[in-house]
């Protein structure tokens, strides 16, 4: 029972990290039809910003400095995403394949830039000491970082859903995911919505980058690439354009991954891609998908 609980919560923690990567990918794809390969770079940029804040700006890590690191990581990544959208994506209006290709280029350049500046060796991101502790639930001993991932993701999930539900730009985004040309035919300039999803997506990925640095014990320019693939998988399983779908799929995949790895070490990743193939072949639009571009 204690092992079960440990694996379950670890899986949910992993899923929470997946969600931070996937939510933005999903919104961007759902609204704009752009498969954003630079999303991994957003994550990495967030992680490096977090590292900078946690080592140079505030050398003595406390809970508050860690929160500052997450926010700084989110904002930097969000601004980078916004910049990319304005400078590159916007100029390739409606050329979806080219937009996807150009994000591949941005991802290569950003990774190489960070690698050239900081090297490819993983660097340790200092955290407050209590992150290393564990809590006891029943007879299960569970490392506390899992709860941090879950908590932060839950806050961001609620924030994103609130923006989508209660603001005008959120209404435009939801409508645009369904039928973008009709939104313009109501006299709405969807460019604002594009910029918004890129910033929100970049922000979530940036915060995710800081947390992933804690999870995987280091910051490295290459960290974005491998998480991006799992981000894609979560998005596709959850349904393109659906934030709630991404959240459910992320949890499902995180938990499955951990249980499979427990029984056969290394099997987790394999099971995940098989889930992906199975979902796509039976329901190509994903669990909660509205669009199938």
């Amino acid at each position: 029972m204690s092992t079960f609980l440990l694996i379950l919560i670890t899986g949910l923690g992993l899923g929470a990290l997946y969600f931070l990567v996937a939510s933005g990918l999903s919104l961007i794809y759902g609204l704009m039809g752009v498969l954003n390969f630079a999303h991994g770079a957003f994550l990495t940029i967030g992680a490096f910003t977090g590292l900078w804040v946690s080592t140079k700006v505030f050398p003595n890590p406390t809970t508050w400095t860690f929160i500052a690191a997450m926010i700084a990581g989110g904002i930097t990544a969000g601004l980078f995403a916004l910049l990319m959208e304005q400078l590159v994506i916007n100029r390739l209006y409606n050329r979806h394949i080219d937009q996807a290709l150009v994000t591949v280029g941005v991802s290569l350049v950003a990774t190489a830039l960070l690698g050239g500046w900081f090297g490819f060796d993983a660097r340790f991101l200092p955290t407050p000491l209590w992150f290393m502790k564990a809590v006891t639930i029943g007879d299960a001993i569970i490392p506390i970082d899992r709860f941090i991932y879950i908590g932060v993701s839950a806050i961001l999930l609620i924030a994103m859903l609130s923006i989508l539900k209660f603001t005008r730009i959120g209404l435009i985004i939801r409508a645009g995911v369904e039928n973008r040309s009709m939104v313009t035919a109501l006299g709405i300039n969807v460019r604002m919505a594009f910029s918004t999803v890129f910033f929100i997506g970049g922000f979530a990925a940036g915060v995710g980058g800081v947390l992933i640095s804690v999870f995987s014990y280091g910051v490295s320019p290459l960290m974005g690439g491998s998480w991006l693939i799992y981000g894609f998988i979560v998005v596709v399983v959850g349904g393109m354009g659906s934030v709630a779908g991404s959240a459910i799929a992320a949890m499902l995949i995180g938990v499955t991954n951990q249980f499979a790895n427990y029984y056969v070490p290394g099997l987790g990743d394999f099971v995940v891609v098989i889930i992906l193939a199975a979902v796509l072949l039976t329901k190509p639009s994903g669990l909660l998908g509205k669009v199938s571009h």
Partner: protein, 339 residues
């Protein structure tokens, strides 16, 4: 037509020159180092062409092409090492195995289209990568890679002095793949592939089953990728999980875009240029070429991905069609000037 009437003789002449150079006295290509670099580049040129067959000619955006390349490498290595097959038989076995694998995965993936298809192929590709890197079934030796048993290869492929034969092997494979791709794309099936890319409805109206032709294109390019993989095993001496990673497929995409899709020679050139650039830029960065620059410029410049990524962005944004596209545009202008 845009084709220059001497383009074919020129292509043959270039090929012959490349084939002779390693044996023609003292020149850059008589050195084993560059021969090895070029051999790998030729194979990537050929591999890019097989990807162009899918992406450019048929309009299928696959993110799992590396799977078939890796399957060619690994199955050949396993058949040679563990089953003691003759290397030619092993290559044949690997190509047939990969073709079957492509029939299975391709017919499943082709139930979807567009981005979903890209994601399903990515999933299969990743599954393959996991199987290889985690060594399920104790065949692949995991992350350490799998050196091919040199005793089972002919002597003229072994040793630094014989690199020129590896070079010839790679060039030969490239020529073979080029002709195969030429034959396929100019055949009636090839015309259907092109029609599928442009307008799938029209093909089904003609009474042809679009999916069957897509599968044909998928399997053919996979089988060719497997053959190239087998050659890569011999050229590089060992199989490694990185050949199965999604990075390889993305690199192939970059190569095709760099050279320009749907022109055949564009993809090959893109593959060769990309491969040579990434190797040579690496060498440059290990030397002192960038030492005189301030480190915030020199650091990124010494990363091949930085330069390649930048070139790639510029091509997508300002020069669609890549190298071959630019050539045809220039030629089009030139031809119209005469009128």
């Amino acid at each position: 037509m845009l084709r220059w009437k001497y383009s074919r003789p020129l292509l043959i002449a270039i090929t012959v020159i490349f084939a002779i150079l390693p044996f023609a006295g003292d020149n850059p290509l008589s050195k084993a180092g560059l021969q090895q670099t070029m051999a790998v580049a030729f194979l990537f040129g050929a591999l890019a062409l097989t990807y162009d067959l899918l992406f450019g000619f048929t309009g299928l955006l696959s993110f799992g092409h590396a799977l078939y390349f890796a399957s060619g490498i690994y199955v050949t290595a396993i058949l040679i090492n563990d089953f003691n097959w003759h290397f030619l038989l092993a290559i044949l076995g690997a190509v047939i195995f990969t073709a079957f694998l492509a029939v299975l995965t391709g017919s499943a993936a082709l139930r979807t289209t567009g981005i979903t298809f890209a994601m399903v192929t990515l999933a299969f590709g990743q599954a393959g990568h996991v199987v290889i890197a985690r060594d399920f079934g104790d065949f692949t030796n995991g992350d350490d890679g799998l050196p091919v048993n040199a005793d089972r290869l002919p002597d003229f492929f072994i040793g630094v002095v014989n690199t020129k034969y590896l070079y010839l092997l790679a060039l030969g494979i490239l020529v073979f793949i080029y002709f195969a791709a030429w034959w396929i794309t100019e055949s009636s099936a090839g015309r259907v592939f092109a029609a599928l890319r442009d307008n799938e409805q029209r093909v089904s109206v003609l009474g042809l089953n679009p999916n069957r032709f897509k599968l044909l294109s998928f399997v053919l390019s996979a089988a060719m990728a497997a053959l190239i993989g087998a050659a890569m095993l011999i050229v590089s001496g060992s199989a490694s999980p990185r050949y199965a990673s999604a990075d390889i497929t993305i690199a192939l995409l970059l190569m095709v875009i760099l050279g320009g899709p749907v022109t055949r020679w564009g993809a090959v050139l893109g593959g060769i240029v990309y491969s040579v650039l990434s190797t040579r830029l690496n060498v440059l960065s290990e030397g002192s070429a960038f030492d005189s620059l301030p480190s915030f410029i020199g650091g990124p410049l010494s990363e091949p991905a930085f330069t390649l990524g930048l070139i790639f962005i510029l091509i997508v944004m300002f020069a669609p069609g890549g190298i071959s596209g630019a050539y045809y545009r220039a030629r089009f202008k030139y031809l119209n000037k005469g009128k």
